[in-house]
């Protein structure tokens, strides 16, 4: 599985980071799900992504499977289509 990113500074305390830039759906959710499985309930996962459809698909799948709650989505770069999705493990 993808190594957790160390190139971006975490914006949440004690969060885990996952870099899935370059991945497309449904692998975006698959990698996110695998990362969430490693976390304890209540922990935060920051997902770095660049596939626009995943902004909707990942939270929707997480909600349907009751594995994580979407806290927020932030723009990662103002000049590039990259985002940080903040998920809380349920």
């Amino acid at each position: 599985m993808l190594a957790m990113s160390s190139i971006d500074k975490p914006s949440y305390k004690e969060s885990t980071q996952l870099d899935i830039r370059g991945k497309v759906c449904p692998l975006t959710f698959v990698y996110t799900k695998l990362a969430l499985e490693e976390l304890e309930t209540g922990r935060i996962l920051e997902v770095f992504l660049d596939f626009p459809a995943a902004l909707k698909n990942i939270p929707e799948s997480c909600r349907r499977q009751n594995i994580a709650e979407l806290l927020e989505i932030k723009k990662h770069h103002s000049d590039k289509p990259e985002w940080i999705m903040i998920l809380k493990k349920l």
């Binding site: 599985m1 993808l2 449904p26 692998l27 698959v30 990698y31 695998l34 499985e37 349907r64």
Partner: protein, 269 residues
């Protein structure tokens, strides 16, 4: 165990399922399933289990591929005629998924070797074409406390049941007693079988194994599923454990050493 990027991609459509995930995929990769018979039931069961990423598949058959097998035994190709079914099957399964280790047993399964062959299995799939072997697998798995599924097919219909010895669900002998002799006119070679029927039943057997390994859904225990593809019917017949069953009843003995399997030492797969 961390899944590789290739594994994540290969299994992505099942990892994505709520019931599987990475945890379930690792359970499959860590599991060993034994399959008796590489005919039509075994072909579809083995194919899908290898594809799903079962870590070890032990395949047991002594037979060779014949031309008349090919309309239903989809693991074997025309070029495989006269080859051992185990080597023909291993060839295809290894090509399909290198994650799945194929263990070949090119031999009859008999009362003398059944326990040794099956003892390390997490689940056993019975796909032979004769009732003597089905009885032997039933008795062996009950003795070893290994869950198993048994299916049979003829013409356009088939049946399947699953037994979980540790949960004392009804077994094959609870239903069929100690029958070891049947009318040979009721075999597939005499009565005929349409290829899709064992295809469907083999898939159902694989599905039982997968559900057991992942501890999801409902198994076909305490019931027989009866499938008639000519009439498109899928019916369930409720069955109950027989307290006096010679294999699993309250006073049952280990039958493998002493039961009569109708001369199974020389029996077909």
């Amino acid at each position: 165990m961390d899944l590789s990027d290739e594994q994540i991609n290969r299994y992505s459509r099942q990892i994505v399922l709520k019931e599987v995930g990475g945890i379930g995929q690792n359970k499959l990769l860590d599991s060993k399933i034994s399959l008796i018979g590489l005919g039509a039931l075994g072909s579809s069961a083995a194919y899908y289990l290898a594809a799903a990423g079962v870590g070890t598949l032990q395949i047991i058959d002594f037979d060779t591929v014949e031309l008349s097998n090919l309309h239903r035994q989809i693991l074997h190709f025309t070029k495989d005629i006269n080859s051992k079914k185990t080597s023909s099957a291993a060839d295809k399964l290894n090509s399909l998924n290198p994650d799945c280790t194929i263990e070949i047993v090119n031999d009859h399964i008999t009362p003398k070797n059944s326990k040794a062959l099956l003892k390390d299995s997490n689940f056993v799939i019975e796909g032979s074409d004769n009732i003597q072997t089905k009885m032997l697998i039933n008795d062996t798995c009950i003795s070893l406390k290994i869950p198993f599924t048994i299916a049979g097919v003829l013409r356009f219909h088939g049946q399947i049941m699953t037994v979980v010895p540790e949960k004392k669900t009804s077994c094959y002998r609870c239903v069929f007693g100690d029958i070891t002799e049947v009318d040979s006119s009721m075999s597939c070679s005499q009565a005929g079988v349409i290829g899709f029927v064992p295809g469907v039943l083999g898939c159902l057997e694989a599905n039982e194994a997968l559900k057991y390994i992942l501890n999801i859904g409902d198994l076909l225990t305490n019931k027989i599923m009866y499938v008639d593809l000519l009439r498109n019917s899928f019916n369930f017949i409720e069955i109950h454990r027989d307290n006096k069953c010679i294999a699993c009843g309250d006073n049952a003995k280990d039958l493998v050493e002493e039961a009569n399997y109708g001369g199974l030492d020389a029996c077909d797969e």
